[in-house]
């Protein structure tokens, strides 16, 4: 009995084996709504535009022109990352699972993140874009306008878009 207890104790104290991020943290806290940042630093001539395609309907945010970093709008797990083969007209996509309610899909850029399962922090660089970026926010499986979930600082950036249109804007 003493041997058993001793070995359990040693093992617990020696705990710490594992890689990357705590997987329980990575699953997200679903009791809170993430405060989303802007995935780019400037909007330029970008626009916040709502439109729907055949299926599924989604909201796309055109976040401007000019080469700049694309960052994670909130912390989460990378579910998928598709690299782009065309640097000038990038077609890469990164999907981030924030928690049980919120998923983000950023597309039309050059991802540098290649590993599904990687845990990204809010603001972590995901890649670069020389062209407009699309940001889809999926809430409980349905498309939603990201604007309502943006932090105050992110709204200042997005409000710079000269071609912003309703109904995505409040």
């Amino acid at each position: 009995m003493k041997k058993l207890i001793l070995m359990v104790g040693i093992a617990v104290l020696a705990g710490g084996c594992g890689n990357g991020t705590n997987p329980l943290d990575a699953t997200g806290n679903s009791s809170t709504t993430p405060s989303f940042g802007s995935p780019v630093a400037t909007m330029g001539t970008g626009s916040l535009t709502a439109f729907s395609s055949a299926a599924p309907a989604y909201v796309s945010v055109n976040l401007g022109t000019g080469t700049q970093n694309v960052t994670a709008p909130a912390a989460g797990i990378v579910l998928s990352a598709t690299l782009s083969t065309d640097a000038l007209n990038p077609s890469g996509t990164v999907t981030i699972y924030h928690n049980a309610h919120f998923t983000t899909r950023l597309s039309k850029f050059n991802p540098s993140i290649t590993s599904p399962g990687k845990v990204v922090a809010a603001g972590e660089v995901l890649g670069t874009t020389p062209a407009p970026l699309s940001w889809e926010l999926i809430v409980d499986g349905a498309a939603a306008c990201p604007y309502g979930y943006l932090s105050a600082a992110a709204r200042v950036i997005v409000d710079q878009g000269v071609n912003n249109t309703r109904p995505c804007l409040p």
Binding site: M1, K3, L4, M7, V8, I10, A11, V12, A14, G15, G16, C17, G18, N19, G20, T21, N22, P23, L24, D25, A26, T27, G28, N29, S30, S31, I77, V78, L79, S80, Y97, N99, A100, H101, T103, T114, S115, P116, G117, K118, V119, D140, G141
Partner: protein
């Protein structure tokens, strides 16, 4: 294999001396609290080895269990736990209609990791957690040295800022040696 994980397997191995029973079975978990919003319960598997009586009605037990969960709204993502625990089981002295009640208290480690189906180059996020469980059970005879047991397990996987609390029902097949 990292040190802590290896030590726990040694712990389980040390129970092989004086083995009195082994059991295997399936487990149906119910995640409690805020994690219930995030995690979708899936069937898990468990095995346990019992040492002979070390005190009146008390047996040492080492258990190994695998418990996966799916992440809600992310069908391809799983959160998996490999539970490695050891402790003692106190068996009731009296039996009614061949039914034998018991309760086990166990401590150990849970190795947790995320996995994504159909993904290449997946970055593994993993960690070892301290865990504790209380397992009331009711054993019923089947045939000869073969018996079954219905367990109602309460397990806590300790994590900051919020623990993972799971109540599970399990059905085990037990072979007394």
């Amino acid at each position: 294999m990292p040190l802590a994980c290896g030590l726990f397997l040694l712990t389980a191995g040390s129970a092989s001396a004086g083995l009195s029973a082994i059991e295997v079975g399936v487990k149906g978990p119910n995640v409690e609290g805020e994690r219930a919003v995030t995690l979708v319960n899936r069937v898990g598997f468990g095995a346990a080895a019992y040492l002979g009586e070390v005190a009146t009605g008390t047996h040492l037990v080492a258990s190994l269990g695998y418990q996966p969960y799916r992440l809600k709204n992310a069908d391809d993502v799983s959160l998996n736990f490999l539970n490695m625990m050891a402790g003692a089981q106190l068996r009731g002295g009296k039996q009614v209609l061949g039914l034998a009640p018991a309760v086990a208290l166990q401590l150990g480690a849970a190795y947790g990791w995320t996995s994504i189906a159909n993904a290449t180059g997946t970055t593994l996020n993993s960690k070892v957690y301290f865990t504790a469980a209380a397992v009331p059970s009711l054993e019923f005879p089947i045939w000869g040295s073969l018996s079954g047991s219905v367990n109602l397990e309460a397990q806590v996987i300790f994590n900051r800022p919020s623990n993972l609390i799971v109540f599970s029902e399990s059905l085990m097949l037990r072979w007394s040696l």
